[in-house]
């Protein structure tokens, strides 16, 4: 159903579960390395592959990181928490259960304010943040390789099994209306920013360090009872989260408007087709037969530890944004543009390396974003650093090169030709600032357009344009157009 019509008929309620992989050295319950991209099944031991007789032990750093996340989300920290076994049979965990927290999560009852692209701010209530372990990675072979449908068998790598996870669960979020998809994406972006600022996760979505399950339900306006929800699993980019929520709103509205009912189920997002498809029916919590983990004793963080972690929390992302906007004197629109394009960190670093804020903003949100988009790449995959951009901005600022050459240099940096100063030197791109050379080119151009000086003397300054163009062309673009203009006017008034 058309999105606007769906919103006219129904109220949207969303709920988000975000899994954050912690960047501890070791796993949650054993001393195996927590690292991405190692040879399969080389970071495994009897504990994380569930061999009989093995005994888990809780990673102290993972608990401290979890407390930091809880505090950053404004949560209470449980004075007494414990682990539970979540029982299910699936080969992604060899133990036949996931060690998780059920009725006593480490953190609960928080709130976070989320700003969406329109500038509106929504308060999202956090229900809980609990500790658990990640599962292994399955590769489905045969049939349509990579997808489970039609697979003949699966291969399991347990390197990721047991990696510490914090699952952050929101309460139902009401009232975002048409902005629910943007709110969902902005929320996950904020969680990412927070865990990155805390230094507790690498927070790279493309590596699955931050993953989102999006719950969506709709109900007719004015109805009190919540609609049946669907949970779309493992949506792995901010853009996909937005699209998933929007798609589910429209899909559910279409079904309800035609007298159908929504099935409570997990769904999968297909980025290529832009749709979700049904997964398994959602199990009841009872079916997991949670019970307290007998091999692990309770976690009872002391008040001193909690206060010590609270005191070491970095500046809140929202406060940091406010501070930076002030320092850079950006308008709301300019600043929002930076935040929404995801370049805040890069911009801050570029400014720290000596670029003027406006110049840094222009490069990142303009040309660099454009080039990344054109290549269909994430900017983090582009081989350009804030130092490069600061160098480039300084070269332009000092008049050594002009904007057009700057864009050419940027392209060369992305192609791996080195840093901007080197490229400018190697290719002789520095603008001609020798007035003598410029004057020679101006006189040559004036010889072909003899009436220009007269027009300028009559006050028609725009007449200089065609001469500037000719000079720029003669100089292969390596002239400071402003200086050329000054010299032409000087010549006219001489």
């Amino acid at each position: 159903m058309n999105y606007e019509l769906a919103l006219e008929k129904f109220e949207v309620v969303i709920g988000l579960e975000v899994h954050v992989e912690l960047n501890t050295n070791t796993k949650m319950f054993c001393g195996c390395r927590n690292d991405f991209g190692d040879e399969p099944n080389t970071n495994v031991c009897p504990i994380c592959i569930g061999l009989p007789g093995s005994l888990p032990a809780v990673n102290r750093k993972a608990v401290e990181s979890s407390i930091a996340i809880g505090l950053a989300l404004g949560c209470e920290i449980a004075p007494n928490g414990r682990f539970s076994r979540k029982n299910y049979f699936y080969p992604d965990l060899a133990k036949n259960f996931q060690t998780s927290q059920y009725d006593e999560p480490i953190a609960f009852e928080g709130t976070i304010d989320i700003e969406v692209p329109s500038g509106a701010v929504y308060t999202v209530d956090i229900e809980r943040a609990h500790m658990e372990e990640d599962a292994g990675k399955l590769t489905h072979i045969g049939g349509n390789t990579g997808r489970i449908q039609g697979a003949e068998y699966s291969l399991v790598d347990y390197n990721r099994a047991g990696v510490p996870l914090v699952e952050i669960v929101t309460k139902p979020v009401f009232g975002a209306g048409a902005e629910a998809p943007e709110l969902a994406a902005a929320y996950v972006r904020s969680i990412r920013e927070i865990v990155k600022a805390l230094g507790v996760s690498d927070a790279r979505m493309e590596r699955g360090n931050v993953r989102c399950d999006a719950n969506v339900s709709i109900r007719p306006h004015g109805q009190e009872k919540l609609g049946t929800r669907t949970e779309t699993k493992n949506v792995n980019s901010l853009r996909s989260i937005e699209r998933t929520v929007r798609y589910e709103i429209q899909r559910q509205a279409h079904i309800l408007a035609n007298g159908g009912t929504i099935t409570q189920e997990t769904r999968h997002w297909h980025e290529d087709r832009g749709i979700t498809s049904a997964g398994r029916p959602k199990s009841d919590a009872d079916d997991y037969r949670y019970f307290p983990e007998p091999d692990l004793v309770p976690v009872q963080p002391s008040k001193e530890l909690i206060e010590q972690i609270r005191a070491s929390l970095p500046e809140k992302p929202a406060d940091r944004r406010k501070r930076l906007q002030g320092e850079w004197s950006f308008s709301d629109l300019e600043f929002r543009d930076v935040v929404n394009s995801g370049f805040l960190d890069e911009l801050e670093e570029t400014v720290a390396k000596g670029a003027k804020p406006q110049a840094a903003r222009k490069w990142w949100t303009g040309e660099i974003a454009r080039l990344a988009n054109a290549d269909g790449k994430d900017v983090s995959d582009l081989s350009i650093t804030p130092s490069d951009v600061a160098e480039l901005a300084t070269l332009v600022e000092s008049g050594k090169i002009n904007d057009r050459i700057g864009r050419e240099v940027l392209q060369a940096v992305l192609e791996g030709a080195g840093n901007p100063a080197k490229i400018v030197a190697d290719r002789g791109l520095e603008v001609v600032s020798d007035d003598g050379a410029l004057m020679a080119a101006i006189d040559e151009a004036l010889a072909k357009q003899p009436d220009v000086l007269e027009k300028i003397r009559e006050g028609k300054l725009q007449a200089a344009g065609s001469v500037i163009g000719a000079v720029m062309q003669a100089m292969n673009g390596q002239a400071d157009a402003g200086r050329v203009r000054e010299l032409i006017i000087e010549r006219a008034n001489a």
Partner: protein, 98 residues
């Protein structure tokens, strides 16, 4: 305590991936009901204001420092697997969650 119905026994068996015959379902329903009733006797021994105990020994905060310890080699890890391929455990494809 309510009795364990045959349907509940079948559901539990399916969660535990155990195949049961109709005769076993009836027998287990009877036996499990008896076990649940017996355990429920604990409810009579304590009042409601006693917090549930999951760990009988008063001990908390047993932590491991975040220091890498040697793992198994890939060969060792796979040595007990019924089947393996490309350094990974090979298992039957199960249509379930991804």
């Amino acid at each position: 305590m309510s009795e364990l119905t045959p349907d509940l026994v079948r559901h539990l068996a399916s969660l535990a991936r155990i195949q049961v015959t109709d005769a076993e379902v009836d027998r287990f329903a009877e036996q499990l009901s008896l076990i649940v009733e017996s355990v429920a006797a604990v409810n009579n021994a304590v009042a409601g204001d006693v917090p549930a105990t999951s760990h009988p020994i008063p001990m908390a905060n047993v932590f491991r420092e975040d220091v890498v310890e040697p793992s198994l080699t890939q060969e060792q890890a796979l040595s007990g697997a019924p089947d393996s391929d490309q350094g990974r455990f090979r298992v039957a494809a199960i249509l379930d969650e991804e």
